[in-house]
């Protein structure tokens, strides 16, 4: 399990989905949190992806994922 921490739900274990490259050099990496499904690029401004800097209004509660309703239930 990776040590990359999700800036939205603060769990670790994010996976790398893609690396933007120029002339063979990595310019940025896109990470994804398998817990809360947040995807982010490590080159984004800290206001969006900085752990503890991001607005708390948009945090996802990893310990309580049941609170997020499922759409289109029969």
């Amino acid at each position: 399990m990776s040590q990359t921490v999700c800036p939205r739900c603060t769990t670790s274990g994010a996976v790398d989905d893609y690396q933007g490259k120029e002339d063979g050099k990595v310019v940025w990496t896109i990470h994804r949190c398998p817990t809360c499904c947040f995807s982010w690029r490590d080159s984004e401004p800290a206001s969006a992806i900085g752990l503890g800097i991001r607005s708390a209004d948009f945090a996802v509660d990893a310990a309580n994922l049941d609170r997020y309703p499922k759409i289109l239930q029969q």
Partner: protein
């Protein structure tokens, strides 16, 4: 000149054709300075959409980390671009564009032609293994707190899982898609939308639900496919009839009718019964949706043209491309439906936040008549969920000219000329709703007074109006532009 534009508009078959037409008219620019995916693409798109009348489409071809890839925004981002799509010159007024669309109903028959898969430009390049959506799509975060990377302008085509051979029951609609890893995405819809119905049907029956996600499409499709038309009417046929031009279709690898000239088509199948965390997403009311769990689709193949253009939209707090994209075609059906009962209705402006505020102009038949018409508007298919604030004005007020609407509010509205209808249906993402899905409606009658009202009409100043004055106004503008050069 105008005939040339109309002819050229009808000859458009693809995004590329339209970008060329826009470029020739000074309505498309290429942004070749190096930009970061965030926040630069968003910032530039937002800065452009400040000019709702004249903003150009912007083609980015130098995005850091995406060498050789291209992204287009703002294709439908101004009234001038919409005018050109409809074959009308730049500077055509919103009111004229409204009547252009309203006048096209029932005007032409659909012309659908079929292109063999082997000859369809969309299939020039094909990926069936080792799929990574990020290899093809130069995505970026549309709004700062979106839950991920979204495709905001994807037309999703699907067949009815219970009636897969029925052409008319194919659905084409715009749904927001959030990438969920290299070969997966979630799709957000509500049960009332066609896609919502198909998802529920597939899960009820266990039948597979296959879809084709079209990106970078014929520009008429996005304008005319987002309409509340009958479920059994094909959006392709409808778009063709409204454009007065042929639509070229081909078949996707998973058997769905798709546009032959789209830039990119993603074929996918729903994972039955599965839901994953989706959102938030900055939506058209200018606020973020909540976080919910949505159906997830697995990508099975990707087709794309050589050197494809990824088309996306900025959507959020208005004014944005979303407003110019859907505004007129939100207004026109309400107008047509009202006129079936009330030919006194002269125009409908539902441009604001998908019609959360609407302005209707009407010739009052009797005192209080405008209120009756307003109640009918609330029962139109779009009005049921969306028309939250309705302003009724007289036929001598252009509902597309907010200066005139404000004049009517200032001089013809009495404080007791409003109606509040409490606890009505509301679109779930309206942030003012009492609870999501339930809210109040407001009708403001800003029309003048007829007998038996004792006040009567004021002695109005009647400044010159009409087509001659409209022409003079355009001429002054053209002279001014000439003088500046």
């Amino acid at each position: 000149m105008m005939q040339d534009l109309a002819k050229r508009s009808r000859s458009i078959t693809s995004l590329r054709d339209f970008l060329e037409m826009l470029g020739d008219a000074g309505q498309a620019i290429t942004w070749s300075d190096r930009v970061m995916p965030e926040p630069d693409v968003r910032n530039i798109a937002v800065a452009a959409s400040r000019d709702a009348n004249g903003a150009p489409a912007i083609l980015f071809d130098n995005i850091a980390g995406y060498p050789g890839k291209r992204t287009a925004v703002g294709v439908h981002g101004s009234w001038d671009n919409i005018a050109l799509l409809l074959g009308r010159p730049k500077g055509t007024t919103i009111r004229e564009l409204f009547f252009e669309i309203a006048g096209r109903w029932g005007d032409a028959a659909a012309q659908i032609s079929t292109v063999p898969e082997g000859q369809a430009p969309v299939h020039e390049c094909r990926i069936e293994s080792g799929i990574n959506l990020y290899d093809v799509l130069p995505v970026y975060r549309i709004n700062e707190y979106d839950g991920g990377f979204y495709l905001g302008k994807a037309s999703v085509a699907s067949r009815d899982p219970e009636d897969p051979d029925n052409f008319g029951k194919q659905n084409v609609g715009i749904y927001r898609l959030q990438l969920q890893g290299p070969d997966s995405f979630t799709l957000m819809t509500i049960p009332a939308h066609d896609m919502g119905r198909q998802i529920l049907a597939a899960e009820r029956t266990g039948l597979p639900l296959k879809i084709a996600v079209m990106l970078g499409n014929h520009p008429g499709l996005a304008v005319f496919a987002a309409t509340p038309i009958g479920y059994e009417e094909s959006e392709y046929s409808y778009a063709s009839a409204m454009m007065g031009a042929p639509i070229r279709l081909t078949t996707s690898g998973n058997g769905i009718d798709i546009l032959a000239d789209s830039e990119i088509v993603i074929e996918a199948e729903m994972v039955l019964g599965e839901r994953v965390v989706e959102g938030p997403f900055g939506e058209f009311p200018g606020s973020y949706s909540g976080v919910r769990k949505a159906p997830i689709f697995k990508v099975t193949a990707i087709s794309h043209r050589k050197n494809p253009i990824f088309e996306n939209i900025y959507i959020g707090r208005g004014w944005t491309e979303h407003d110019t994209l859907i505004g007129l075609h939100t207004s026109a059906p309400i107008y047509a439906q009202l006129r079936q009962n009330f030919p006194e209705v002269t125009a409908v402006n539902a441009l604001y936040q998908h019609g959360l505020t609407g302005i209707v102009s009407v010739k009052n038949r009797m005192a209080g008549f405008a209120k009756t018409v307003a109640l009918r508007a609330l029962s139109t298919p779009h009005g049921v969920m969306y028309l939250k604030n309705l302003i009724m004005v007289d036929a001598d007020v252009d509902p597309f000219d907010l200066n005139q609407v404000m004049w009517a509010l200032s001089t013809r509205t009495r404080a007791d000329d409003i109606i509040v209808l409490p606890n009505m249906p509301a679109v779930p993402i309206d942030p003012s709703a009492v609870v999501p899905g339930k809210g109040h409606r407001l009708i403001i009658d800003a029309t003048s007074y007829l007998p038996p009202d004792p006040v009567g009409e004021a002695h109005l100043v009647t400044p010159p109006t009409g087509p001659d004055i409209d022409e003079l106004s355009k001429k002054i503008r053209a002279m001014q532009l000439g003088a500046a050069q």
